[in-house]
C-alpha cells in the first residue's frame, strides 16, 4: 500500500524536475529564434492593444462628438475622426505530432524530430503572441493571448510523447475560421491525416502543414542486410539489400509529399518539408508568412 504512492510521487518529482530543466532552454531557444525573425524580415507595423493610429477621416454624420479629434480638427475647417487600426486577433491552433515516430534521429549529433517540431511550434507561438494573436495547442491548450499563454504552451509541449507509432492530426480545440498549423513527419496512415485536415477545413480553418523529416529519412543511407523497425517496434520490414530499396523508398517518399501537397492545396492550406538537419529559422519564416498570407 505504501509503495505505490512513493513510486508515484518519485515519478512526479522526476518529471517535474525534467520539466523544470528542459522548459527554460526550449523557451529561451524559441524566443531567440523568434527574435531573429522579428528583427529581420518582420520589423513592420504591428497592431497593438488598439491604441495604434491608423488614419484621420472626415467625420460623418453619426460619429459621436467624442470620436472627433479636436486637435486635428482645429487645424482645418472640417471635423476629423481619429481612426485606430482595426484589430481582430486570430486564433492559431498548433498541433505537434507526439507520436513515437517523431523521436527518431538519424545521427547522434542531431536532436530527434520532435525537438525540432516543438521548437518550431513554440517559436511560432512566440511570434504570434507578440503579434497579439491567440495561440493554442490542439487537444492540449485552448487558444489564448498573452505572455502567460507562452509558459503554458511550453509546459504542455514538454509533456510526454504519446504511445502510438504514428499520430493523426488532432483538431480538438480548433476555433472556427482560425488558423491551424500541423507539425508532423506525416509518415503514418494518410487516411488519418486526411480526416484531420478535413475536420479542420470543415471549420473553415486555414493554415499550413510542416513536415519535419530527419535527413536520414530523406537520404536512406542504409545498406546490407537490415531489419527496419518502427520506433515502437510495431512494424518491421526485413531486407537483404537495403541499398537496393533506396530508389523505391525515395519514390514513395516523394509520392507521399506530393499527396500531402495536393491535400493541402485542395483545402487551401500550405505545405512544406523541413529537415531537422537544416536551421529552423527558414521553416519558422515560412510558417509565419504562410499564416500571414492567409490573413
Amino acid at each position: 500500500m505504501s509503495a505505490a504512492p512513493d513510486l508515484q510521487s518519485t515519478d512526479l518529482r522526476t518529471r517535474a524536475e525534467a520539466l523544470g530543466q528542459s522548459l527554460p532552454p526550449l523557451l529561451a531557444e524559441a524566443e531567440m529564434l523568434a527574435s531573429t525573425v522579428m528583427l529581420g524580415e518582420h520589423g513592420r507595423r504591428r497592431a497593438g492593444m488598439g491604441d495604434e493610429f491608423w488614419q484621420y477621416r472626415p467625420a460623418h454624420a453619426g460619429d459621436s462628438a467624442r470620436m472627433v479629434d479636436w486637435r486635428r480638427s482645429a487645424r482645418s475647417d472640417a471635423h476629423y475622426v481619429r481612426e485606430r487600426e482595426w484589430q481582430a486577433a486570430q486564433s492559431v491552433t498548433i498541433w505537434v505530432d507526439q507520436g513515437r515516430s517523431m523521436g527518431f534521429s538519424g545521427a547522434k549529433t542531431r536532436a530527434p524530430k520532435s525537438d525540432r517540431a516543438k521548437l518550431l511550434a513554440l517559436a511560432l507561438a512566440v511570434l504570434l503572441l507578440r503579434g497579439g494573436e491567440r495561440v493554442g495547442l490542439a487537444g492540449l491548450a485552448h487558444p489564448r493571448a498573452g505572455k502567460a499563454q507562452l509558459l503554458r504552451l511550453a509546459a504542455r509541449l514538454a509533456g510526454d510523447t504519446g504511445g502510438e507509432e504514428y499520430a493523426a492530426p488532432e483538431t480538438e480545440g480548433m476555433v472556427s475560421h482560425g488558423r491551424g498549423v500541423f507539425l508532423s513527419d506525416f509518415l503514418g496512415d494518410l487516411a488519418g491525416i486526411e480526416a484531420g485536415l478535413a475536420r479542420a477545413a470543415d471549420r473553415g480553418v486555414k493554415g499550413c502543414l510542416i513536415q519535419v523529416l530527419d535527413p536520414a529519412e530523406e537520404e536512406f543511407p542504409f545498406d546490407g542486410r537490415t531489419i527496419f523497425e518502427s520506433m515502437g517496434g510495431g512494424m518491421r520490414h526485413e531486407t537483404q539489400q537495403a541499398g537496393d530499396l533506396r530508389t523505391r523508398y525515395l519514390a514513395r517518399l516523394a509520392e507521399r509529399k506530393d499527396r500531402l501537397a495536393g491535400l493541402a492545396r485542395s483545402v487551401g492550406w500550405h505545405f512544406t518539408t523541413h529537415h531537422s538537419g537544416s536551421p529552423a529559422q527558414s521553416a519558422l519564416l515560412w510558417a509565419y508568412r504562410a499564416l500571414e498570407g492567409g490573413r
Binding site: L187, S230, L245, L253
Partner: protein, 929 residues
C-alpha cells in the same frame, strides 16, 4: 622432423585438424551474416517492398574462403613450420670441426661462427664430444672435449690473416679412432689440402661447408708511367662488376682519410682487373694503404711501403760557388721542380753517394776525379740513376770526346751547336713528339719549348736506341745508357733556361718525374732485404685492420723476401717491416697471387653456408591468419552495410593525416609572409582594402612583390581615398582569392603551372570581377612573343586561364585617366607594351568626343613586363628599395610608375566609372536644351 619439400614441421600432428576444414566450410556456409536492426520511422513507406534479387541467405564463397584460409593458417602456424629445417648431423662418434680460419674467412666470419656454434650445439644435444681446429694455427694435438666446453669458446675463435699451409702437419696431429668431421672452408684452393682430406676421410665421414659469395683480393700497387696501377682479383670470375679501391693515408693535418678512389671494372668472366690511379706526387707520397671498399678482409687491404715514398735525389754542382747568381744557377730549376716530390741532398758527390740516393743529378759537371767516377759507377751499377745536364763547361771540356765516358751515354761533338741565335741562321728548334719506346711517351711537348743551344752527340751506331727525346730535326736532346741495374741519362741542354726554355715548362717537371719514378723497381729484390733484421711496425689482422706491432720480434731479410713471394705465415704476419733505411710491406696478397677455387673430391658432400639457414615460419603464418581475420571483419561489416560510417571516419582520419603530412615546416611559414590561419586571414583581407600578390615560391621575388605593393599602398593612402592595409601574399593553390580585388602576379622564368583546382579558382576570380596584373619583369619581350623564359611561362600559365582577346593598351583606355592622365606605364623598365582586354570591334569615337564610348567590361588582366613592383618597392620607412634610371629622370620615372599604380588600383576599384564621366559634359549640354 616431418617435412614437405623445404618446409618442415615441429609438431606435425597439429596438422590433423586441416582435415576438418571442409566440414567447417559446410557449417559456415549455412550460417549467414546476422542482419542489422534499425529503428526507422520510414518503415511505413517500406512496407510491401520486395528485394530485387533474392540473394541467398548463405555466406558468400569468398568470405568463406577467407575464413577457411585464416583457420588453415592458424593450424599450420601452430604446427611449427620451418623453412629449410636444419639437418642434424647424423652419427654418434666425436665430431671434429675444421675451420680454415684464413683471411678469406674473415668477410663472413660471423656466419661461420654461427654455423660452428650450431654444429657444436647439435653435437652437444646428442652428447657427442667435439673438437675444433683452426688450420692457420701451427699443428697441435687434437683433443675432443664436451660440447659444453666448446660452446663458449667457439665465439672467441678469430681468423688469421694468412692462408692455411701445414695440412700434412695437421693430418699427422689427428687422433686415432673414428670421428666425423665438418670442414668450414674458405672456398680457396690451398696446396696440400688433399693430405688432410684423406686423413679425415679415413677417420669417418667428412662434410664441407662453403660460401658462395665472391672473394676479392687486392694486389700490391705498383708504378707504371707515373701512375699507380691497382690490380684486383676475384673468385669466382662471374658477371661483369666493378669494385672501388680507395687509397688511404693521412692528410696534411695527420688525419686518416681517403686520398683517392678508383673503380676497377671486371669484364664478364675476368678473374683479374687493373685500374690506374693518377695522383699528384704530394698526395701519392702520403698513401699508407689501399683498400677495397666493400670487403673488409686482410686480402682486400694492401699496405704500401717506401716504394711509393719520396725519393732521395742528390744535386751535385762542382766548381766555385757563385754568389748572387742563385737564379742563374743550373740547379735552381731542378731544386724548384724536385723539392715538392723528393728529398734533396746537396753536397759533393762522394758524400752524397754515401747517403745512397736514388738519383744523382749532375748539372754541367764535366770532370770527375777517378775516385768520384769509380764510386758513381758502382752506385749506378747497383741501380742508381745518374742524370746529367749539359752546359758551357761540358761543352768546353773534352770528356767523352773520342771514347765514350763510362758515365756518359753518348760521345759528344766538340763545341755543340747554336740555332736561332743572333749570330746563326735558322729558328730555335722545338721538341719532336716522344717515340714509343721513350719513358716520356705520352707526354705532349708544348709548342713554346725551344732549344737554342745544345751539345751534339756523335752519330754512333747505338745513338738511335739511346735517344729518348729528340728535337724536331731529329737531333738527340736526351740520351740514356743502361749500366748494370742503373742508368745514365744525359740532357743535352742546361738545367737552367740559358740554352733552352725546357726548364721553364711544365714538361720539364713531368719528365723529371717520369725519370725519377721509373728508375726504381717497385718490389724490393731479395738482395735488398737480405742481411738485415726487419722489425714489424704495423701488422694486419684478418679483417684488414692495421694495428701496432708491439713487441713482435724482428725477422731475417731472407725470410721476409721469401714471405713476400709466398705470402705471410704464422711467423711472418702481414704488415710493415722496417729495415735500416726503408720500410717493406708484407701483404697477404702478393703480385703473383692467384685465387683458385677449392676443388673437393667427389666423395665429399659440399654444402653452402648461405642457403641452409632455417627460417621459423610460425610467426609469419600466425600474422597472416590475423590479417585474414581482420579482412574478414571488414568484409563482414561491408556485407552487413555497416562499413559506410566507419569508412567515412577512416577517410577523415586519412585526410587529416595527409593534411598534417603536407603542412609546410616552420621555416617555410616564416619565409612566406602572411601564412595566417584562415579566419584571421579572411578578416585581415576584408576589414580594409588589401592589395595582394601571388607567392611564387622564390623568396626574393615574393619579398619584392610585397615591398612593391607596400610602396603603392602608401602612395594610395597619401594621395587618394583608397586606404589599403598591409599587402598580403596569396598562395593560389590554397588560399581563397575572393577577398582580394587585385592580384599582382610576377612570373618566374621556370614557373610551374597551377593545379586544376587553382585554375578553377582563378577563373572564378577573373569572371567575378577580380583583376590580375601579370608582370614578366623582363622589360619588353613579354606579351605573347614568347621569346623570353618568363614569356613562355606566362603563356603556359595563361593557357589554362579564361582570358579574353587582348590588345595593347589603347590611348583612350580608361586606365589612362582613372586618376592621373597617363600615356605610358613604366615600372623599372620603360616602354614595354601593356596588354589589356580588347575593346569591342567597330566602336568609333563620336564626333568631338576624345574617347570612344566603351562603357562595358573591366579588363580581367593587365599584362606587361615593366617590373612595376621594383619601381614601387619601399621599405617600412617609405624609402625606395630599387634604384630606377638615373638621377631626376629616374625619379620622374618612379613617379610615373606610382601614377600607373594609382590609376590601376582606381580602375580595379571603380571600374569604368571614369568612362561614364566623360559623357557628363555632353549630357549636361543636352539637358540644358
Amino acid at each position: 622432423m616431418f617435412s614437405i619439400g623445404p618446409l618442415g614441421f615441429v609438431t606435425p600432428w597439429l596438422l590433423v585438424p586441416l582435415v576438418a576444414l571442409p566440414i567447417l566450410w559446410i557449417l559456415l556456409r549455412a550460417v549467414p551474416p546476422a542482419p542489422i536492426r534499425r529503428r526507422f520511422p520510414g518503415v511505413a513507406l517500406l512496407l510491401g517492398l520486395k528485394d530485387d534479387e533474392a540473394e541467398t541467405d548463405k555466406t558468400p564463397w569468398w568470405l568463406l574462403l577467407i575464413r577457411t584460409l585464416a583457420l588453415a593458417a592458424v593450424i599450420i602456424g601452430f604446427a611449427g613450420p620451418v623453412l629449410n629445417p636444419e639437418d642434424r648431423v647424423e652419427g654418434s662418434g666425436p665430431l671434429l670441426l675444421v675451420m680454415d680460419g684464413s683471411w678469406a674467412d674473415a668477410r663472413d666470419w660471423p656466419q661461420r661462427v654461427a654455423k660452428a656454434e650450431a654444429l657444436v650445439a647439435d653435437a652437444g644435444a646428442s652428447g657427442r664430444p667435439v673438437a675444433l681446429i683452426r688450420l692457420t694455427d701451427a699443428p697441435e694435438a687434437v683433443e675432443f672435449q664436451t660440447a659444453e666446453a666448446w660452446a663458449s669458446r667457439v665465439a672467441g675463435v678469430q681468423p688469421q690473416p694468412w692462408a692455411p699451409a701445414d695440412f700434412a702437419g695437421w693430418a699427422g696431429a689427428l687422433p686415432d679412432g673414428k670421428f666425423d668431421s665438418v670442414w668450414l672452408s674458405d672456398g680457396l684452393a690451398h696446396p696440400g689440402r688433399e693430405d688432410l682430406i684423406a686423413a679425415l676421410q679415413d677417420r669417418g665421414t667428412l662434410r664441407v661447408v662453403e660460401t658462395t659469395r665472391p672473394i676479392l683480393a687486392l694486389h700490391p700497387a705498383r708504378f707504371e708511367d707515373g701512375k699507380v696501377v691497382i690490380a684486383v682479383s676475384r673468385l669466382p670470375a662471374a658477371e661483369a662488376v666493378s669494385v672501388e679501391v680507395q687509397a688511404m693515408g693521412p692528410d696534411p693535418a695527420g688525419i686518416e682519410r681517403v686520398l683517392g678512389k678508383v673503380s676497377v671494372d671486371f669484364a664478364l668472366g675476368e678473374a683479374r682487373a687493373e685500374a690506374k690511379l693518377d695522383l699528384p706526387p704530394e698526395v701519392r707520397n702520403r698513401i699508407t694503404r689501399f683498400e677495397l671498399a666493400p670487403a673488409r678482409t686482410a686480402g682486400a687491404v694492401s699496405l704500401s711501403d717506401d716504394s711509393l715514398k719520396r725519393r732521395k735525389i742528390a744535386l751535385i754542382r762542382m766548381g766555385p760557388e757563385e754568389e748572387g747568381l742563385q737564379l742563374l744557377s743550373p740547379l735552381h730549376y731542378l731544386r724548384q721542380a724536385l723539392q715538392p716530390v723528393a728529398e734533396i741532398i746537396e753536397g759533393n758527390l762522394i758524400d752524397s753517394l754515401r747517403a745512397n740516393p736514388d738519383v744523382v743529378l749532375l748539372a754541367d759537371v764535366a770532370d770527375l776525379t777517378q775516385a768520384e767516377q769509380d764510386a758513381a759507377l758502382e752506385w749506378v751499377n747497383k741501380g742508381g740513376l745518374l742524370l746529367r745536364f749539359a752546359g758551357p763547361q761540358l761543352a768546353a771540356s773534352d770528356i767523352s770526346r773520342t771514347t765514350e765516358d763510362p758515365l756518359m751515354p753518348v760521345r759528344l761533338r766538340e763545341g755543340g751547336r747554336s740555332v736561332g741565335g743572333a749570330m746563326s741562321w735558322g729558328e730555335p728548334k722545338g721538341l719532336a713528339p716522344f717515340a714509343e719506346g721513350s719513358p716520356f711517351y705520352g707526354l705532349q711537348p708544348p709548342k713554346d719549348v725551344v732549344v737554342r743551344q745544345q751539345v751534339l752527340a756523335q752519330p754512333d751506331p747505338d745513338l738511335a736506341e739511346r735517344t729518348i727525346a729528340a728535337l724536331e730535326d731529329g737531333t738527340p736532346l736526351m740520351t740514356r745508357k743502361v749500366i748494370g741495374a742503373g742508368q745514365v741519362v744525359l740532357v743535352h741542354v742546361t738545367a737552367n733556361a740559358e740554352w733552352s726554355t725546357l726548364p721553364l715548362s711544365g714538361l720539364f717537371v713531368q719528365m723529371l718525374e717520369r725519370l725519377a719514378v721509373s728508375t726504381k723497381p717497385t718490389q724490393p729484390e731479395a738482395a735488398d732485404l737480405a742481411g738485415q733484421v726487419w722489425v714489424p711496425q704495423v701488422v694486419l689482422d684478418a679483417f684488414g685492420r692495421a694495428t701496432d706491432a708491439g713487441e713482435l720480434p724482428g725477422v731475417e731479410g731472407e725470410a721476409l723476401s721469401g714471405a713476400i713471394t709466398v705470402g705471410p705465415t704464422v711467423a711472418l704476419q702481414p704488415g710493415l717491416y722496417a729495415g735500416a733505411d726503408r720500410r717493406v710491406a708484407l701483404n697477404v696478397i702478393s703480385d703473383k697471387t692467384e685465387l683458385l677455387a677449392a676443388d673437393w673430391p667427389a666423395s665429399v658432400p659440399v654444402e653452402t653456408l648461405e642457403g641452409r639457414v632455417a627460417q621459423v615460419l610460425k610467426g609469419a603464418f600466425l600474422t597472416g591468419a590475423l590479417i585474414l581475420l581482420l579482412v574478414d571483419v571488414l568484409a563482414a561489416l561491408w556485407l552487413a552495410g555497416r562499413l559506410r560510417g566507419i569508412m567515412r571516419g577512416t577517410a577523415a582520419v586519412l585526410v587529416l593525416a595527409l593534411g598534417f603530412a603536407t603542412q609546410p615546416g616552420p621555416g617555410r611559414a616564416q619565409e612566406v609572409a602572411g601564412a595566417l590561419p584562415d579566419d584571421a586571414r579572411a578578416l585581415e583581407a576584408t576589414t580594409a582594402v588589401v592589395l595582394a600578390y601571388v607567392m611564387t615560391g622564390d623568396p626574393k621575388v615574393d619579398e619584392m612583390s610585397r615591398a612593391g605593393l607596400l610602396g603603392l599602398s602608401d602612395k594610395l593612402w597619401q594621395r587618394t581615398s583608397i586606404e589599403p592595409m598591409m599587402p598580403i601574399g596569396v598562395d593560389i593553390e590554397k588560399d581563397e582569392l575572393a577577398f582580394y580585388p587585385f592580384l599582382y602576379w610576377p612570373i618566374l622564368p621556370a614557373g610551374k603551372q597551377p593545379s586544376d583546382a587553382a585554375y578553377a579558382k582563378l577563373n572564378q576570380y577573373l569572371r567575378t570581377g577580380g583583376m590580375i596584373l601579370f608582370d614578366t619583369r623582363d622589360a619588353d619581350v613579354s606579351g605573347f612573343g614568347g621569346t623570353t623564359p618568363e614569356g613562355q611561362t606566362l603563356q603556359l600559365i595563361a593557357s589554362g586561364l579564361d582570358i579574353p582577346a587582348l590588345e595593347p593598351l589603347p590611348a583612350d583606355h580608361v586606365l589612362t585617366r582613372t586618376f592621373y592622365l597617363l600615356q605610358d606605364f613604366p615600372g623599372r623598365h620603360v616602354g614595354g607594351t601593356v596588354w589589356v582586354e580588347a575593346a569591342p570591334m567597330a566602336v568609333e569615337a563620336e564626333e568631338g568626343m576624345p574617347f570612344r564610348n566603351l562603357n562595358d567590361g573591366v579588363t580581367p588582366v593587365v599584362i606587361g613586363g615593366n617590373d612595376w613592383a621594383a619601381a614601387w618597392a619601399t621599405d617600412d620607412y617609405g624609402v625606395a628599395l630599387v634604384p630606377i634610371g638615373r638621377g631626376a629622370a629616374g625619379e620622374q620615372q618612379r613617379e610615373i610608375a606610382y601614377r600607373f599604380g594609382v590609376n590601376l588600383i582606381m580602375y580595379v576599384l571603380t571600374g569604368n566609372y571614369k568612362s561614364d564621366q566623360v559623357h557628363v559634359p555632353a549630357l549636361l549640354e543636352r539637358l540644358g536644351q
